[in-house]
Amino acid sequence: MTKGKKAVVYIVLTIVSLISVFPLYWMVSAATNKSIDVMRGKLLPGGELMNNVHSLFAQCNVGTAMTNSFKYALILTVLSLVICSLAGYGFEIYHDRGKDAVMSVILLAMMVPFAATMIPLYQAFSKIGLLNCTAGFILPTLSTPFLIMMFRQSARSFPHDIIEAARMDGLNELQIFFRMFIPTMKSTYAAAMTITFMNAWNNYLWPKVIMTDKTSITMPMLVANLKEGYVTDYGVLMLAVLLCTIPTAIVFFVLQKSFAEGITGAVK
């Protein structure tokens, strides 16, 4: 590359990066300013963070929403990883014609839009009393074709010799999975964890449908409700948005590398 071309590449990437980061920077900065200053176009962080915090906590129950969001997301992530990785491992390691056929049918479920299952799920869940509870939140996304596919793909690189050796040593099939597969596939688990936690945390439509009770509200619902207000206090609103974003941002930064790796594995 010539120097001129290289400069163009750097300029393009810098501009795109700035555009990507700017709305998030603005969110953080607005959360520390008075609404009136935000409306005047103030871009630098101010000293109003604590006032906004007081105002937000006085307006709505942030504690409940945070606790709920964490509870739902963590339980969903743990259970989902166990169930989907067991399946992915099962489909790959013990594969035969029958299991391959089942896998193809499962992949079809990826095509089913949520709108098409939402109403019957709501009807069934309200009949058996699963509204406003963790089980109701997690069940529809507990088992996802994408995760199963991801784990099946990574099981492909799990050497069969190890399984044979472990069987010789007297480990049963479940022990092999827990003691050999899980520790070797750390990066796949990390990627799956990132994706599942983020999806669970960010889920909005389904909780909006089944979390009818004030005490089962989640963070995205809290943000959405807040913007319904007649007068928008940008400082307070952006603080809520910020609080809703921090957990996924942390997960994102901690696991960014493994996320990219996991995707590579899944797409190959």
Binding site: I83, G90, Y94, A109, Y204, K208, P220, V267
Partner: protein, 290 residues
């Protein structure tokens, strides 16, 4: 029981919970929705209605508007986003580039926000008293704030901009991982043969990334047809339903006013058929060997 039979059975036991859950939470509800779509009535008092819901759908101006809106987003936003993601990925794939990690993280960062969060951020940025207007007035481009979210076309454009902002980095990561599977020496050989970067982009990158491009195209199409959060939280579907999406209208029909589950189910089946057709078409097109 023989050893291999025992192992075969443990295989089935391993995949049983996940498979059962998918049948119960995906296929069975889909089947129920199909039945429901032939029923009429409000709430839980339902009677057989034949094709009533389906014929009603094609006379419902709001529903037709929501279909039109989704296709507008699909046709404009998805190609722009995927091309942009592909260009950024090939720029970032350059071996001599410094600060690669920083650029990648920055461009991927919008994915760390939830859909509700970013919809709220964009709603605030483009509000009449929002930052975009403040800046436009400050620089003398506008005399007073323009109500972006209150005009049909500009509201749609804001949604498209927001979607591009949120998802370009996400697709770029897929392309970057795809590019890592292409040997760098292929590019070097092409360069020695006198190929320009533009030529190697079209002759090497695009053909070799075809499976990944197909995957992202199907995912984006699927996502666009199911848009919900943006319509609800960025524009509230307005002005005058100019930005409402199919999922948003289905939600309104089933949960916001008097619930009409049968009608909503018929509309949801319409999305299902659209998703299936478009995925099929894309696979056919993507499969062609040239």
């Amino acid at each position: 029981m023989t050893l291999s039979r025992k192992q075969n059975l443990s295989g089935w036991a391993f995949l049983a919970p996940a498979t059962l859950l998918i049948v119960l939470t995906s296929f069975y509800p889909m089947f129920r929705a199909l039945i429901l779509s032939f029923q009429r009535g409000k709430g839980n008092a339902l009677t057989w209605g034949g094709l009533y819901n389906y014929t009603r759908m094609f006379k419902d101006a709001i529903f037709l508007q929501s279909v039109k809106n989704c296709f507008f987003y699909l046709i404009i936003q998805v190609p722009i986003m995927l091309v942009l993601a592909l260009i950024l990925a090939s720029l970032l794939n350059n071996k001599d580039l410094k600060l690669k990690g920083l650029f990648r993280t920055a461009i991927f960062l919008p994915c760390a926000t939830s859909l509700v969060s970013y919809a709220t951020i964009f709603r605030s940025l483009f509000a009449v008293d929002g930052l975009v207007n403040v800046l436009l007035v400050k620089f003398g481009i506008l005399e007073s704030g323009y109500n972006f979210l209150n005009h049909e076309l500009s509201a749609k454009i804001v949604i498209i901009l927001a979607l591009i902002w949120r998802w370009t980095g996400y697709n770029m990561v897929f392309y970057l991982s795809g590019l890592q599977n292409i040997e760098y020496s292929v590019y070097e050989a092409a360069k020695i043969d006198g190929a320009s970067p533009w030529q190697s982009f079209w002759k090497i990158t695009v053909p070799l990334l075809k499976p990944t491009i197909l995957l992202t195209a199907i995912m984006s199409t699927n996502g666009t047809l199911q848009l919900f959060d943006e319509s609800v939280n960025l524009t509230s579907g307005g002005p005058a339903n100019a930005t409402i999406t199919m999922s948003h209208y289905i939600y309104n029909t089933s949960f916001k006013y008097v619930s009409n589950f049968g009608y909503a189910a018929a509309m949801s089946f319409f999305i299902l058929i659209l998703v299936a057709i478009l995925a099929f078409v894309q696979m056919k097109v993507g499969d062609k060997r040239d």
